[in-house]
C-alpha cells in the first residue's frame, strides 16, 4: 500500500565530487526575495537602500509589475549621497519618517542592503538601531543584505529570516518552528498534517504578522521547508534550537520522509504518520503518475538558480522517473541537503557556482530533454531546440507537500507536452 521507494544501494550522490565553477553567474541577487516576502509578511515594508538598478530589478523580476501599491520601495542613492555632500544617514532617516507617516499599518521595516550600499559601507545595522529607537514601539526596524555581492536569489530570504531569528525573543517552550516562506494555502496544509499526527505547538517563520514571530530557545526544535536557509539554520542553532534534518517536502516521498523525521523527533510512531497520510499520499501518487507518463525516461539538466535544484532532482528522478545529467546549484549546503543527496542515484554531475558559457556548452553537448534555467536563458535555449522550464516559477508557485505534488510534476511536464503538441510545419 504505502510502499516506500527503494533508496539507492550506495550512498547516492553523497560522495559525488562537486564541479566548482567561478565565472559569469547568470543568477538574480537576493533582493528578488522581496517579491514574495512582502506578500507573505503583511505588516512589513522592505526599503532597499540602493541604486536605480535595484529598483529596476525589483520591477522586472516581478515578471509583471505588481502595481497594487507594493510594500517595498527603493531609496535610490544619488550623486550627492556618494560625494558626501549629503549625510546619507540623515537622508535615510527623513525618507523612513515619510514612509512610516504614509503607511501607518507598517509594524516591521526592513532596511535592505544592496551592492552600492555595501560598497560605500553604509552601516544599515546602526541605522536600524537608531530608527527603531526613534519609531518604537510602533515599528521595529531591522536590516539585512540582499546585495548581489553577498547573496544569490533565494539567499535574500535566508538573510531576512536570519535577521528575524537574531532579534526573536527567548523562550523555554518546546515549540516546533517551521522555517521558510510558504504560500498560505500550503502553510495551512502543513500545519494540518502536523496537527493530525499529534504535533500542535507549531510556529512558522516568517509569520504573517510581527506579533506572531516565534520565540527561540534551547527547547525549540525546527524543520526547514526550503533548502536555501543556511544562515537561518546557523542562527537558530546559535540560539540553542535543534534542527530536525530531513529531505525537503517535495513530492509524495519527500513529504512523507519529512513527516517521519518530525514524528521521530517528537516520539510519534511512524504508523501514525502512515495512517494520517494514507489518503493524501494516494492522491499525490495518482497525481504524479499522470504527469510521470510524460516525464519518465527523459533527461534533465539544472542550471543554478534557487537552490531548490537538489531536492527537485531527487523528486524528478525518483518519483517521476527522469534521469539527471547535471544538477547545478548556486551553493551546495551539504548539512541541509545531505538527506536529499543520499537518495539521488549516483551519476549526474553536481556543480556549484557557475561559468555560464561553459555550462551552456555542457548543456548543448548533453542535449537534455528538459533544461531548468533562469529567464535570461530559457528563450535562447528554446531557440536552439532545447525544451526549458523557467526556474523562477518554482519559487512563486505552491509546490510543497502532498496536495501540490502533482502540480510540481506538472510544471516540468507541461513544456514537454507542449513541444509534442505543437505542429508548426506543413502537413505533408
Amino acid at each position: 500500500m504505502n510502499r516506500p521507494l527503494t533508496p539507492p544501494s550506495g550512498p547516492g550522490c553523497t560522495d559525488t565530487p562537486v564541479l566548482k565553477e567561478r565565472g559569469q553567474r547568470e543568477v538574480f541577487c537576493g533582493l528578488t526575495g522581496i517579491v514574495w516576502l512582502h506578500r507573505k509578511m503583511q505588516d512589513a515594508f522592505f526599503l532597499v537602500v540602493g541604486s536605480r538598478t535595484c529598483a529596476h530589478l525589483l520591477q522586472s523580476a516581478a515578471g509583471v509589475m505588481i502595481f497594487a501599491e507594493p510594500r517595498f520601495a527603493t531609496a535610490i542613492l544619488e550623486e550627492k549621497d556618494l560625494a558626501g555632500l549629503a549625510d546619507a544617514n540623515e537622508e535615510l532617516d527623513r525618507e523612513v519618517a515619510r514612509l512610516l507617516e504614509r503607511r501607518p499599518d507598517i509594524r516591521r521595516l526592513f532596511l535592505v542592503g544592496s551592492c552600492p550600499s555595501e560598497v560605500i559601507k553604509l552601516d544599515l545595522h546602526r541605522a536600524a538601531e537608531r530608527l527603531t529607537i526613534e519609531h518604537s514601539p510602533r515599528v521595529m526596524v531591522q536590516n539585512y543584505s540582499g546585495s548581489g555581492i553577498e547573496t544569490t536569489f533565494t539567499q535574500g530570504e535566508d538573510a531576512c529570516l536570519a535577521t528575524i531569528v537574531e532579534a526573536a525573543g527567548p523562550t523555554d517552550a518546546a515549540d516546533l518552528v517551521i522555517v521558510g516562506a510558504l504560500p498560505d494555502v500550503v502553510e495551512d496544509q502543513a500545519l494540518g498534517l502536523l496537527s493530525a499526527i499529534g504535533i500542535d505547538n507549531v510556529k512558522v517563520l516568517p509569520s504573517a504578522r510581527a506579533e506572531d514571530t516565534p520565540a527561540i530557545g534551547p527547547n525549540t526544535r525546527f524543520a526547514l521547508v526550503q533548502p536555501f536557509l543556511g544562515d537561518t539554520h546557523a542562527e537558530l542553532e546559535r540560539r540553542g534550537a535543534t534542527h530536525i534534518p530531513a529531505p525537503f517536502p517535495f513530492g509524495e516521498e519527500g513529504t512523507t520522509l519529512w513527516l517521519y523525521a518530525l514524528a521521530d523527533a517528537f516520539g510519534i510512531d511512524r504508523a501514525v504518520v502512515d495512517r494520517v497520510t494514507e489518503a493524501p499520499r494516494a492522491r499525490a501518487r495518482k497525481a504524479i503518475a499522470a504527469r510521470a507518463e510524460t516525464l519518465r525516461g527523459k533527461s534533465l539538466f539544472f542550471f543554478p538558480d534557487s537552490q531548490l535544484e537538489v531536492p527537485l532532482a531527487r523528486f524528478l528522478t525518483r518519483e517521476c522517473g527522469m534521469t539527471a545529467i547535471e544538477i547545478g546549484t548556486p551553493f551546495l549546503h551539504r548539512t541541509l541537503l545531505g538527506p536529499d543527496l543520499e537518495l539521488i542515484e549516483a551519476g549526474p554531475t553536481l556543480s556549484e557556482g557557475q561559468d555560464v558559457d561553459r555550462q551552456l556548452d555542457r548543456a548543448r553537448a548533453g542535449r537534455p530533454d528538459l533544461t531548468v534555467c533562469g529567464l535570461g536563458l530559457a528563450n535562447p535555449l528554446e531557440a536552439e531546440g532545447l525544451t526549458t522550464k523557467w526556474a523562477i516559477e518554482l519559487v512563486f508557485t505552491p509546490v510543497h507537500f502532498y496536495e501540490q505534488a502533482g502540480d510540481l510534476a506538472e510544471l516540468f511536464a507541461r513544456p514537454l507536452r507542449r513541444k509534442e503538441r505543437l505542429k508548426l510545419e506543413a502537413a505533408t
Partner: protein, 519 residues
C-alpha cells in the same frame, strides 16, 4: 536619496545594453556584480529574443572586492573576445562597479585586442536608461564612422531604433517604405540591425532620419557637425507629422514629395459619423517626450480629443514638452515619480489616458480607459502582428488602438438610456471587451485580490479636504451615471459644492454642477 516605487527608466547601462542587443557583431563587457544579469530577461522575455544579449558580466562578489576585481574584468574581456569574436567591443561599469573605480576602459585598452574597444562613461547615479542608449550609440558612431564618399543615389540612415524599443521593429519597416516611395533607399539603420562595419558606413548617406531623439540625437548631431549630414527634426508619427516629415525630406534632398496614402485610413475613419462620439473626449498624455509630442498632436488634430494635460518622464526633453503644453494651454508635468503622475490623473479626471504601461495600471485603478503610446515596455508591446506607430500604417494602428478602450458611440447612448438592464449595465464595461474586469486582470498579471476592484488606499495625503456629504438621494442618482463619467461627475460636483461652501450635496446640487460644467 530619492524614494522610488516604480521607475520609468532603468539605469544607463541598460540603455547601453539596448544598443548592443539591437546591433550585430558588437559585444558589451560590463563590469557588474552578481545579480545585474537580471537585465538579460528584459530582452529574452519581454522582447522574446531567441538570443542572449551580447553582454558578458564580470559578476564579482564580495570576496573579490579589494583583491582582483580588475583582473576579473581583464579575464572576462579576453574570454568574451575569444568566445564571441566580435567586430568591436564596448566596455563599461554598472552602478556598483562605478564605485570601485577599476577603469574598464583603461583595462580593456591595455589588453591590446585587435578590434576597436570603445569605453563608456555612464554616470549611474545621475543619469538613466535613455541617456545610456543615446551616449552609447554616440560613442560607437564617433569611434567607428569614417569619412567617405556619398552614395551615388540619394540614401538616408535611420537613427535611433534599439532593442526593447516601443514598436521600433515595425517603425523601421514603415519609415523605410516612406523613404522608398520618395525614391530614397536606406544606407544603414542603426543601432538596430547594424554591425560595427555598418556604423563605419554611416557617412556615405546623404542625410539622417532621426527616428527617436531619445536614443539617437547625440549621434545625429555629431554626424551633422562632423560629416555634414543634415537630419530630420520631425518624427513621422501621426498623419500631419508624416506629411511634415516628407516635406522636410523634400527640402533636404530637393526631391518632390511622394506620399502614397492609398492605404491610410485614419483621416476618413476620424471624419466618418461613427467617430462623432470621440469629439472633445478629455485625454491625458504621458510617456517619453517623442511619443507624447506625437500623441498630443494626433489627439487634438486628428482624433478631435481635448488634451486635458500632458507630460513626459525624461527631463532631457522638458523644454520641448513645456513649449508644447503652452501651445495646448495646459500645464506640463515633467516627472519620473509614478505617484505624482497618479495624483495628476486623479485630479484631472480625464476620460482616457494615452500613456505607458504604468498609466495603464493607474487607469485600471481609477476606472479610466488607457491606450499605451510609449515605453517602458511590456510583453504586450511586442505584438506578433505588424503594428507600427510611424507612417501611414502607424496612423491606422493608432486610430484602432485608441478607440478600442472606449465605450463606442451608440453603446454610450444605450447605457444612458437603459442603465438598469441586468446584462447591459455600465459596470460591465465596453461590451466588445467581454467584461472589463477580467480583461484588465488578464493583461496585467494578477492584481492582489484584496485591491483589484477598489480604489487605492490614499497614500498621498488627503486629496479633497472638507468634502461635502452626499445625501442618499444624490448618491443614488450618481450611481445612475455611467461608470466612465461617474468619477468626473463626482469630482465636478464636489468641487462645485466646495466652491460654494455647501456642506451637503443633493440631487439638485448634482444637476446644478452638471449645468455649470457643461461644455
Amino acid at each position: 536619496m530619492k524614494l522610488t516605487v516604480w521607475t520609468y527608466e532603468g539605469p544607463p547601462h541598460v540603455g547601453a545594453m539596448r544598443v548592443a542587443t539591437g546591433m550585430k557583431g558588437l559585444h558589451y563587457v560590463l563590469h557588474a556584480p552578481q545579480g545585474d544579469t537580471y537585465a538579460d530577461l528584459l530582452f529574452t522575455m519581454i522582447e522574446r529574443r531567441g538570443h542572449r544579449p551580447p553582454v558578458t558580466y564580470t559578476t564579482f562578489q564580495a570576496r573579490d572586492l579589494g583583491s582582483d576585481t580588475a583582473n576579473l574584468f581583464r579575464e572576462a574581456a579576453q574570454d568574451a573576445y575569444a568566445r564571441f569574436s566580435p567586430q568591436a567591443m564596448i566596455v563599461g561599469a554598472s552602478c556598483t562597479a562605478e564605485l570601485i573605480q577599476d577603469d574598464p576602459g583603461g583595462l580593456a585598452e591595455a589588453l591590446g585586442l585587435p578590434i576597436p574597444v570603445i569605453p563608456l562613461e555612464l554616470p549611474s547615479y545621475q543619469r538613466k536608461e535613455n541617456f545610456g542608449a543615446d551616449e552609447t550609440f554616440f560613442q560607437i558612431v564617433r569611434h567607428l564612422a569614417t569619412e567617405q564618399e556619398k552614395t551615388a543615389q540619394v540614401t538616408a540612415n535611420i537613427l535611433g531604433p534599439t532593442g526593447l524599443g516601443f514598436r521600433h521593429r515595425d517603425d523601421i519597416e514603415e519609415v523605410t517604405a516612406l523613404l522608398s516611395d520618395m525614391g530614397i533607399s536606406v544606407n544603414v539603420t542603426a543601432p538596430m540591425g547594424a554591425s560595427p562595419a555598418d556604423i563605419a558606413r554611416l557617412p556615405a548617406a546623404h542625410f539622417n532620419v532621426l527616428l527617436y531623439p531619445e536614443t539617437g540625437e547625440a549621434a545625429a548631431r555629431w554626424l551633422e557637425r562632423t560629416h555634414d549630414m543634415p537630419f530630420t527634426r520631425t518624427v513621422p508619427i501621426g498623419v500631419g507629422a508624416t506629411h511634415d516629415f516628407l516635406a522636410e525630406i523634400a527640402e533636404i534632398t530637393g526631391r518632390p514629395v511622394v506620399a502614397d496614402t492609398s492605404r491610410l485610413r485614419l483621416p476618413w475613419y476620424s471624419a466618418s459619423v461613427d467617430s462623432t462620439y470621440l469629439t472633445g473626449k478629455r485625454v491625458f498624455v504621458f510617456g517619453d517626450a517623442t511619443h507624447v509630442k506625437a500623441a498630443a498632436r494626433i489627439a487634438r488634430d486628428e482624433m478631435g480629443f481635448e488634451v486635458a494635460g500632458l507630460g513626459c518622464y525624461n527631463r532631457e526633453f522638458a523644454r520641448d514638452i513645456r513649449a508644447m503644453a503652452k501651445d495646448f494651454g495646459v500645464e506640463a508635468l515633467i516627472t519620473d515619480d509614478y505617484l505624482e503622475v497618479e495624483r495628476t490623473i486623479e485630479a484631472l479626471a480625464p476620460e482616457m489616458i494615452l500613456g505607458t504601461q504604468m498609466e495603464r495600471h493607474i487607469g485600471k485603478r481609477l476606472g479610466i480607459p488607457c491606450a499605451v503610446i510609449s515605453a517602458p515596455v511590456h510583453v504586450q508591446d511586442f505584438p506578433a502582428r505588424y503594428s507600427p506607430q510611424a507612417g501611414w500604417e502607424g496612423a491606422n494602428v493608432i486610430f484602432d488602438t485608441w478607440v478600442h478602450p472606449l465605450v463606442m458611440g451608440l453603446e454610450e447612448h444605450l447605457l444612458h438610456m437603459f442603465r438598469e438592464d441586468f446584462e447591459f449595465h455600465d459596470e460591465a464595461g465596453p461590451s466588445h471587451h467581454g467584461g472589463h474586469a477580467p480583461a484588465a486582470k488578464a493583461e496585467g498579471g494578477q492584481p492582489p485580490a484584496d485591491r483589484a476592484d477598489q480604489p487605492p488606499r490614499d497614500i498621498s495625503g488627503p486629496v479633497m479636504d472638507g468634502t461635502a456629504t452626499w445625501l442618499a438621494d444624490a448618491e443614488k442618482e450618481l450611481k445612475k451615471i455611467p461608470f466612465f463619467v461617474r468619477g468626473k461627475a463626482r469630482r465636478n460636483t464636489e468641487s462645485f459644492a466646495a466652491e460654494r461652501g455647501l456642506a451637503e450635496i443633493s440631487v439638485d446640487t448634482l444637476y446644478e454642477a452638471k449645468a455649470h460644467y457643461a461644455r
